[in-house]
Symmetry: C2
């Protein structure tokens, strides 16, 4: 067959376009509902409350799947060292906190829709003037992932403060005092916080602009069977899809973009047992150019590009040093410099603290930090800079079976021949609120 | 149903036993063949040569799968920015080097069996007096994974020295001068290198002692369909399998054991598309006790426990520091100490070098290094020691859907309730050779 026919035969261009329209879709819808709010305080008429799935619900769904009774579930959890009653208690705490939020909103005369994270979709986003995430940071990331309108406010309420951090949520005391938070919001006793987000352009070959949702941990059996009907040819096609001009992906990164090998597509037509797809230490090959600088070959356990919001999340854990390492470096340095001043634990803590602080920056800053994770240095690959600030990062994939994952929630194929351009844009800011404790 | 009946109903005990017998199986067989060699030089009568799968073969198999012609394959690779001829050239280099090895062995009157890595099995191990891995380190790890007899020598020959490092292989010059290597081996002009390996005992619940092979990236369609017949109930059962006394797993770790969350079993009955199973930054919860010390709660991107051999591999990349980080720590330390001595690039290099050297130790040493990967420190989790030497590491899983992966090749479920004891034992040494360059 001819080259052109071959590309056409392999492409999924139309699928890509559909998504483009869908996503720009909400942007228009959204503006109509909310534009008015931008100036005034927080006075939404319609609020969607998106709730997390608790571990209790997860286990229930999982075992109902295999037709076990409630009694069996108790025994099964006991076997696994988890307490059924413990999970139930956390579940009830979450549920009570959600009810508290909903009642508070209704008392203020707002129309409320409670949506389980599994049911959260574009329609909900279009309907709502504001969205409240009721769960932890994971739920907040999911909620934000579908919001493309910088005028549509998104709030996070941590519904289990004892067990989760909730960096993206309101101060924890408002979990139990939500009416007070609402009063402050209505009176404008808060500050809008515009969290910068990352946008992605893809071009070249070996890519598939169709996003795959990782957020949803549960699917109905039908969808499950659907998924199994995916043929290899389809996988082939998507893998070889070729885009002539940069394509703006229909997602925005609030925390980070992670690029890495998965190995899994090698085994995808072999089995879907979990183990077969775990290969965390498979090295990723790629070329990177920072702020239009020269292309540099890299081999590592992946590449992370984060926002100020994300600089406190995974990126922080990739880059931070523990006191043990800092202490050893200082000891070696002292010896090498021939100094014999004492090295106090206090000093080690100070240095560690100052070093780690340098890895964090503000959510509203229009720059990113890129981090080469576990760089592999050998005669073929150098690693001049392991991390740094950047306004624009370009990555050319040399991977066999890689993915580009946005906020650990949405994934895109990113194989040999694909080029990603990672930037920030004012339009993409997420509108959240900053409320004093 | 009763508790006991419930456990029985859920257990796979018999499957586990089968494996145990199989593995101890080769140990006896092996000794008969090879015991004599232990004293003398290297004079095997029967040699198995296990060959890697080249990228060319991989792509071919992959696309033959979807009934593409050789011509289509060329175009498809071109689309992905890879060169068909380039892959073919590397393939031919590998093939020539394998032929060179085989002919050299036959000239010495040895009986040779060439086995593709996909066909390498216990029967091959039983048959052979010695095994030669013809590929890179990955092939060597696969070969070693099936050898349980410390008297059965395993050699690695790097069949593509220009492209791979081959730390576990003979010096690269012997790739093209294999007869010379053979002469030295026969005359005993070498030293046996006994590489220590890690053994694993599993107990508790939430485990499945059945190993899953990740080494094989290719499977026949039949096996593929087999895999799809795995029912959820089966997954449930294995997950909840309960072992009363510690069970010695039928594998030995030459490089390392990695424990981490996979998320994938949450989506395994959803789809087997690669993306769905990639969630590299899902935190793993577990408790760890080093050298029978107190149990410490940990939350991190996984846990690695490596041998001296493995201390140059993944573990090294997890722990090593780049000059950028060392330079910053020294600068901060200098400032904090109020010193204004200059900080030369040379010093930074020296310190980095000395620090990274401290992460590596000899393959024959009977100790391990544990590394907590990207530890998460917050009000709930401390991280006193991120890494250190150990003779015995115990890990109690608090993970939902975790795996314990041996040398990136064999995986075991390791969920909530499971306890792993990680040690070293003289019996488990892998017998390799040290040949001067």
């Amino acid at each position: 067959m001819t080259y052109r026919a071959f590309i056409n035969f392999l492409c999924l261009g139309n699928r890509a376009v559909t998504i483009l329209n869908r996503s720009s879709g909400h942007i228009q819808m959204g503006i109509r509902n909310i534009a008015s709010q931008a100036e005034s305080g927080f006075n939404p008429a319609k609020v969607a409350v998106v709730t997390k799935m608790t571990r209790y619900e997860f286990e229930q769904q999982r075992y109902r799947f295999s037709e076990l009774s409630e009694e069996d579930l108790k025994q099964l959890l006991a076997l696994k060292g988890s307490s059924y009653l413990g999970l139930l208690e956390r579940h009830n705490i979450h549920t009570r906190n959600v009810e508290h939020i909903v009642e508070s909103l209704q008392k203020e005369g707002m129309e409320v829709r409670v949506v389980k994270r599994g049911q959260y979709d574009e329609e909900t986003v279009r309907w709502a003037d504001a969205i409240i995430s009721a769960g932890g940071d994971g739920t907040m990331l999911l909620v934000a992932s579908k919001v493309f309108n910088k005028d549509q406010p998104v709030l996070g309420v941590n519904t289990d403060p004892e067990r989760s951090e909730g960096h993206l949520c309101l101060p924890v005391r408002y979990t139990h005092a939500f009416p007070e938070a609402l009063q402050k919001l209505r009176r404008g006793q808060f500050r809008w916080q515009w969290r910068q987000r990352i946008r992605l352009h893809l071009e070249g070959t070996g890519i598939n602009p169709t996003p795959v949702d990782l957020h949803e941990q549960q699917l109905s059996l039908e969808q499950h069977n659907q998924a199994h009907r995916i043929t290899l040819m389809e996988a082939q096609r998507s893998e070889a899809c070729s885009l002539s001009k940069p394509y703006l992906l229909p997602v925005r990164g609030l925390n980070e973009i992670f690029i890495g090998e998965s190995l899994s597509s090698r085994v995808k037509y072999k089995s879907f047992k979990p183990h077969l797809t775990l290969s965390l230490h498979r090295a990723s090959y790629y070329e990177i150019s920072v702020d239009d600088g020269p292309w540099e070959k890299q081999k590592s356990s992946g590449l992370s590009i984060c926002t100020g919001t994300g600089s406190k999340a995974w990126s922080y854990n990739i880059n931070k040093l523990v006191e043990q390492a800092v202490g050893e470096v200082l000891r070696i340095g002292k010896a090498q410099m021939g100094l014999d001043i004492p090295l106090s634990q206090e000093l080690v803590e100070k240095v560690t603290d100052e070093y780690n602080k340098s890895l964090v920056f503000g959510p509203e800053e229009g720059r990113m930090i890129f981090s080469i994770r576990e760089p592999i240095v050998n005669r073929v690959f150098s690693s001049s800079r392991q991390r740094g600030f950047a306004n624009r990062v370009c990555v050319r994939s040399r991977c066999w079976d890689a993915c580009m994952v946005v906020d650990g929630g949405t994934s895109f194929e990113f194989n040999d021949g694909a080029i990603a351009t990672i930037t920030m844009n004012e339009e993409d800011q997420l509108r959240t609120v900053l409320l004093e404790n």
